[in-house]
């Protein structure tokens, strides 16, 4: 007996209705053989209704459609350059109108730990100009100065000492790269400041090398201090001479060292020293000459700055163009007759040949180069400074929505361009896969028996070999990656799924009466396969194949990421239009290399491919659900 409480089907009692309460809607006309007035809902309409019912899928499909449209339209209509290299604007960060006002995506780069020349530091504010940057484009108030110790042989590493360190007990000789001129009449004095001497029996001998085997000792140093050597007194030479200064360090222990601050050469001709070797210049002007020792820097000081910089303004400000041809020069001047008016040279650049008025693409002509004569014709070239913004035809500094890549290509256009390649490869390869799969599966399913068994074993062998092992096999065969290899690689295992679906469909339909009837009437196998069975199974086959496109894009981006895709720089010529080798996978691989300081190069392709894959899969699933409601939720 079933317990009333646990019965999962609660039967609702139907209230008793008196038959007399019913009445006929109409009795005077017979309508059972009349046509329906409403339109019948066909297979596709039914599918469409089911498709539009799910709002999420509709949204996904719309987003997908927008992506595909953008990938077709943007590369065609964009005014920006995404095909040629333009090093002037390489690595510009993203800059988006309106959003830039919020302080993000405004094209301003934060620089950290940039070297500053000590000479540029303002004694009042303590702020200097970072090397290679223009002061007007540094965001006011963003500069933070600090110092840190350094020991690099680097011109920004100021002051400090230079150490001769012995790697083993013995002697090591340090020698100046250049010889100094000693003028006897001017009473030359050599000054050496030694700050530390380390190690038992360590000493330094200061020596003048006149010729390779002719050296004269000036004196020996065993204690730190400032030593002055009066050359005339010590050597008593009568003629002027050139000599290289040597420091011969010797010690009884390993790591014995002589630390020097500077070597200066004074003479009565001037107050300032004639030669002043200190800091970085000391470290590069002197080299180890003999013996097993090293010459090191220590206790130097770096002047560093963190700051924000308007890199867009900087890049579009000006560009020095060497050797601009006369034709190009004249065409620029003639194209802007109102703006290109010669004005007097400015105070800042007094030495240039010509200065043009503000607003002309050419700012200044620095000099005229030597004319070149080729085949009797003379070619003139000029060294000019361009107003890069106007030279490129912009009225204002342009916006690069996604920034630019390492070649100065507009990343926004390049991404859609790459997406187009990915989509195109996806569609073409999916088409090939579906075609092969249908024919193969049809033959398998239709003939069955031994044919089926053998063909199944074949697919098994192909399908069991991992994709990346196939990759290595094709790489060996083709020797270098290219479009043919990519398509073959994506096809080799891609068709198996379609083949198996088709095979199942053929097993299902081949025993039907209409097939038998057709065969009785003398139809050939090919006719039965392609005209009778295939059209019946095609719905299932095609909907199962919709998801092929994102799957191919997935594989293609993996292969391209690994560097075995078509690759940037190469292209496939398709007659009507050219397909670039730059796919999303290629952009991902490039973005990966700049992940540390230019993450936007990785972020944008990652977002685009993620959205593409998600929406494509949702669209494919929705389409399949719409056509085969029984499959919903599975696979």
């Amino acid at each position: 007996m079933i317990n009333e409480k646990e019965n999962i089907y609660e039967t609702k009692s139907i209230p008793h209705v008196d038959p007399s309460m019913f009445e006929f809607v109409q009795v005077d006309e017979r309508i059972f053989d009349k046509k329906f007035e409403t339109k019948p809902i066909g297979y596709f309409k039914d599918a469409m209704i089911r498709f539009t019912k799910n709002k999420t899928n509709v949204t996904a499909s719309i987003i997908l459609a927008i992506l595909i449209l953008l990938s077709i339209i943007v590369p065609v209509i964009t005014p920006k350059n995404y095909k040629r290299m333009e090093d002037q604007v390489a690595f510009l960060p993203p800059r988006v109108p309106l959003i830039e006002k919020l302080g993000i995506l405004d094209g301003i780069v934060k620089y950290t730990d940039q070297p500053v020349r000590r000479e540029t530091i303002d004694p009042d504010t303590g702020i200097g100009l970072p090397e290679g940057k223009l002061p007007q484009f540094i965001i006011p108030g963003s500069v933070k100065m600090y110092t840190r110790p350094c020991h690099e042989k680097n011109e920004f590493c100021y002051d400090g000492v230079n150490i001769v360190r012995l790697r083993e007990p013995g002697t090591a000789t340090l020698q100046a790269k250049n010889a100094y001129s000693f003028v006897v009449a001017n009473n030359p004095i050599l000054e050496v400041k030694v700050t530390e001497i380390f190690g038992t029996n360590t000493k330094a001998v200061i020596r003048l090398a006149l010729a390779p085997n002719n050296a004269l000792d000036l004196g020996e140093i065993t204690e730190p201090g400032t030593y002055r050597f009066n050359i005339n007194d010590l050597l008593s030479r009568e003629e002027d001479f050139d000599a290289r200064v040597q420091v011969v360090a010797s010690s009884d222990i390993q790591d014995g060292s002589v630390t020097m601050e500077y070597i200066k050469l004074f003479d009565s001709s001037s107050e300032e020293p004639i030669v002043d070797e200190n800091g970085y210049y000391f470290s590069v002007n002197y080299v180890m000459y003999q013996g097993n020792g090293i010459f090191e820097r220590a206790n130097g000081i770096y002047y560093r700055a963190d700051f924000e910089y308007n890199i867009y303004a900087d890049r579009f400000f000006e560009r020095r163009e060497r050797a601009m041809s006369e034709d190009q020069y004249l065409s620029i001047i003639n194209a802007n007759p109102s703006a290109c008016v010669v004005v007097p040279n400015s105070e800042e650049y007094p030495d240039v040949l010509i200065t043009y008025k503000e607003g002309c693409p050419i700012k200044r002509v620095v000099k005229q180069n030597e004319p070149m004569v080729v085949d009797g014709k003379t070619y003139n070239t000029y060294d000019v400074v361009l107003d890069y913004m106007r030279y490129k035809g912009y009225e204002k500094i342009p916006y690069y929505l996604f920034g630019t890549d390492y070649e100065g290509k507009d990343y926004f256009a390049l991404l859609w361009y790459g997406l187009r390649t990915s989509l195109f490869v996806g569609v073409v390869v999916a088409f090939i896969n579906i075609s092969i799969g249908i024919v193969y599966g049809a033959i398998e399913g239709y003939y069955g028996g031994w044919v089926d068994l053998l063909m199944e074993r074949f697919t098994e062998i192909i399908g069991r070999i991992p994709f990346l092992v196939w990759l290595s096999f094709f790489l060996l065969l083709f020797k270098k990656p290219g479009p043919a290899m990519l398509i073959l690689l994506l096809t080799v295992t891609g068709w198996l799924g379609v083949a198996s679906v088709t095979r199942t469909q053929f097993y299902r339909y081949k025993g039907r009466e209409y097939v038998l009837a057709s065969r009785t009437l003398g139809a050939k196998d090919s006719r039965i396969i392609f005209r009778h069975i295939l059209p019946n199974g095609i719905g299932t086959i095609i909907t199962a194949s919709v998801l092929m496109v994102p799957a191919v894009i997935f594989s293609e981006s993996t292969v391209s990421y690994l560097g075995y895709g078509i690759g940037r720089g190469t292209s496939i010529n398709l007659g009507l239009f050219e397909l670039s080798g730059t796919s999303i996978g290629v952009l991902l691989a490039e973005g990966r290399t700049y992940i540390v300081d230019k993450p936007y190069l990785l972020v944008y392709p990652t977002i685009i491919i993620s959205i593409l894959m998600i929406t494509f899969n949702m669209f494919g699933n929705a389409l399949r659900d719409a056509f085969n409601p029984s499959l919903r939720g599975s696979e």
């Binding site: 999420t56 990346l468 981006s557 894959m613 998600i614 949702m618 939720g633």
Partner: protein
Amino acid sequence: MLRYIIIRFIWIFIVLFTFLSILFVTIRLVPEYPPTDKDQKEIYYEKLRADGYYYTEVIKDPAEVARIRRGQHDPCKKCYYKDETNQYRVYKPVPIASQYVRWVKNVLGHWNWGVSTRVQPNRGVFELAKERLPHTLKLNLIALFIYIPIGFTFGIIAALKKDKLVDNIISLGVMIFISIPNFVLLFILILVFAYGFKWLPTNWLSSDIKGIGQYTQLILPVLALSFGEIAYLTRLTRAELTEVLTSEFLLLARTKGLTRRQAVVRHALRNSLVPLVPSIIFSFVALVSGSMVIERVYSIPGMGSLYFQALTLGNMDYNVILALSAFYTSISLFAVLLVDLSYGLVDPRIRMGARK
């Protein structure tokens, strides 16, 4: 049953062997990349001779030696001319057919897969792979132990709460994670957690690092590997379980008086396992090959990165390619066998290869 397994083993062997033979012959036909260093090169060719792929010929004729020295001889493509002051020792390859026979003997008889040429010149390939294997195994096994329970749990929750909010959220998550390629997912994780929050390392730190680093360096690659598999398993479990939950025997279980919990745990779950176990094995195969790319992205010194190192254009290491292709292909082949056998284990009614 035993007969069936034996037949399957032979079949696996045939597939593997056929493919490797094709690969071997292809390799012998394309330009080779011996070690670049001169000493290493000599050792390498000497090893090839010892293994029987090459034989040597000594050229003593002074006129001939002088011609070789001047580069006026016509060199055979794959030969190596070793300069021995007054004479030349020429290493010449034996015909490919004999090389193939030797190779089969070496591999099957002595388990000698040859030496690496470019990755680590003159190191045994098998030895090299053995060194890299633990990283790959660790990565994949941790991912396996993470994705199976989580995938199951989500799948069960989604099936039991079908068409409710929880199910919709899980389904959306499944759709997202199944779509995004796992290496792209790793980029997202690296950008967010390594560069954004700076919580985790941006790269594999080191193989023999001590302390907390040896665990934190595993988190991102394991997550990137598992997300896709979790999504796959969730979807599968949900589909299977929904089907079983609406089946008649479950209705019978309820009608005979079991509570919903009892019916789900004792009847539904066990029955939905039948198609799930094989899928898990297949997904593990997908995981292993997916980890090859992950290893490359996160620079983990595993088998996958070794494989790509050996595949560098213009710097190929054929013996490594051959050995690792064998490894990955056999994993895939044995997984199929395991799948077929597991049907019998999970569902005793299925007897593979049994005569009807």
